[in-house]
Symmetry: C2
Subunit: 356 residues, 2 copies
């Protein structure tokens, strides 16, 4: 029997509630595929930062480097600046482990209320593929004339050919099993060095995929199309910043921002990938047992797909969709009255009987 060694990092707030529940679902579902898990728990978090001054130990990356995958809850705690949790945990993991793809599905599900008029379940179904390692998120920059009227700050964006090409190829490969349509997010009319280069590489990589359709939109009008024409998209590929924006806007448009999953993926599997829900640590509802576990469970399904357990991944996703569609045991955010545990139980109950 295959055993997957997973680093579990619940993080802060509701991360500590939804991660164990998602582990229960993954354990139950593992019977479908006939595999098992070896979980190792890490307390890396803003809470740890508050106590020790570091989000993770100095040798943290080495501790998890050999794992098959990383299962993360959410980090963030009032009083700990956002950039601490990001640059002290998320970004080092994303970059050191070459998780250069950030993948997020955008899907309008039955039973989930979208803010948009007249859209039917299934009519919106696409992926945002975000470059996750370089681009606009760079630590290069600085300040001149600090404290004076003439003060100015600079920030360097860096796009490499290798960085662009590999994420674009991932997007095309993903589209292969879908509608073979790839949309690129750009802003080459305003941002005059990096974005024209992004377009150039998109054109070059497109030629490797004859028969695929492609288009590109400037990020400003693309956000407008996400609202007006979300049914146009199949796979959307975007830089780090634009992908960050689109992968929050997409879930917002289909009403799933509280339940959307995400993967930070190293496609070559040279290093562990990391799966985490889109939502944050929600300190306001933490500790009450009311947090919605679906984002975490769905992230677990994405993790299984990455590990090669496609059937089990799909079974979990189907169970989530079934429970949502019949509006069974939903949490408050979805208009129900159930708690985290009851909703998890309902999803476990909706798994195929081989997992019961």
């Amino acid at each position: 029997m295959t055993t997957y060694s997973i680093a579990v990092i619940p993080g802060d707030g509701i991360g500590n509630e939804v991660v164990p529940e998602a582990q229960r679902v993954l354990e139950a579902a593992s019977r479908i595929g006939g595999f098992s898990f070896d979980w190792t728990h890490y307390d890396w978090s803003c809470e740890r930062f508050a106590k020790t001054g570091a989000m993770m130990p100095a040798d943290g990356l080495d501790q998890i480097r050999g794992k098959d995958s990383i299962f993360l809850g959410a980090v963030g705690f009032p009083g700990v600046p956002d950039h601490v949790s990001l640059w002290g945990l998320l970004i080092p993991i994303r970059r050191s482990f070459q998780q250069y793809v950030n993948l997020r599905p955008v899907k309008l599900l039955a039973g989930v209320e979208s803010p948009l008029k007249g859209r039917e379940a299934g009519s919106i179904d696409f992926y945002v593929v975000r470059e996750n390692n370089e681009g606009e998120y760079s630590s290069i920059g600085g300040r001149l004339y600090e404290g004076l009227e003439d003060e100015l700050v600079m920030q360097q964006s860096i796009f490499t050919r290798r960085g662009c090409d590999r994420v674009m190829r991932y997007a095309f490969e993903l589209a292969k099993g879908r509608k073979q349509h790839v949309t690129s997010a750009t802003k080459s009319n305003g941002i005059s060095h990096t974005m024209p280069y992004w377009d150039e590489r998109f054109a070059a990589i497109s030629t490797e995929y004859p028969g695929f359709t492609t288009d590109q939109y400037h990020i400003d009008i693309l956000t407008a199309h996400f609202v007006r024409n979300p049914d146009w998209f199949d796979v959307v590929v975007a830089s780090n910043l634009f992908g960050d924006i689109l992968s929050d806007l997409g879930p917002a448009v289909v009403g799933s921002i509280g339940i959307a999953p995400g993967g930070n993926i190293n496609p070559e599997k040279d290093y562990p990938s990391m799966f985490e829900p889109v939502h944050g640590s929600a300190p306001d509802i933490a500790g009450k047992g009311v947090a919605n576990p679906i984002g975490q469970i769905w992230s677990g399904a994405m993790m299984l797909r990455h590990l090669g357990e496609e059937a089990t991944a799909s079974a979990i996703e189907q169970a989530i969709e079934d429970v949502l569609a019949r509006r069974d045991s939903l949490t408050r955010d979805l208009g129900g009255t159930a708690g985290t545990r009851e909703l998890t139980d309902a999803i476990i109950g909706a798994l195929p009987s081989s997992a019961a």
Copy 2:
């Protein structure tokens, strides 16, 4: 009688149809305020670029420097790359004339269909104030190892204290006559030099406006709030790139992207400001007399407000709202059958009788 000297640049495509119609409305409305116009026409456009190799003559800026205002249609023509029209016309005007504010209203109007469920006319009403001169739109950057596998490109963003402070103060001044609530768009958790500085300046400028409420959101979740909670906002201040995104997304959310106006404003009036609709040159419908003139007319109203003609500006806006609300003589994009001229006539007819 005051006479305003206006540089008229219809540009390309439907710009040539909607600009003369908007001039008719402005002429009719000028009787309300008792002022007149001295229009000077310039053929600066992509069409001109195709013929002469330049969007405008070498001394173009000097030709219009002394005008009271610039009234622009739209530039863009198939075959002429976007960055040509931008860096050959729009950006030099925006920067040389220190039009450091890009102002766009986002307002849900009666008679206009929003893609969002359950929102009533008037329930969404805010401004996006975009920094229009610096930030992420910089021409500084370049390429290393051109043509090789190691190729990379860099782009520098530059934020100055003066640039941040002046646009933020403009936002607070605008909020003064409104709900005194200012929202800042940031991404200081990911973009680690310029955006934390933006936050620092926002905090500093906020202290100059006691009694105002402020908040700030990272751009990713802010785009989600534009869709989920557009009623939260009063004045949103943002960098060049983030403001560009938000000022397309905002109009998309209220269904007005085809009719939204915009101003490129030099608040000190040291130089002429420029007013232009959000929509483009729409080559697909150009020359057919069916283009919607409202964005251009509304931009004209914004121009009058900037010139100090508040009463006349409001009268034009009211006429637009009345015609939309009673769905009188609307163009195709709004579900009607009227042409550009008929819709313009309806708006002129809806002006107070002093302008008839």
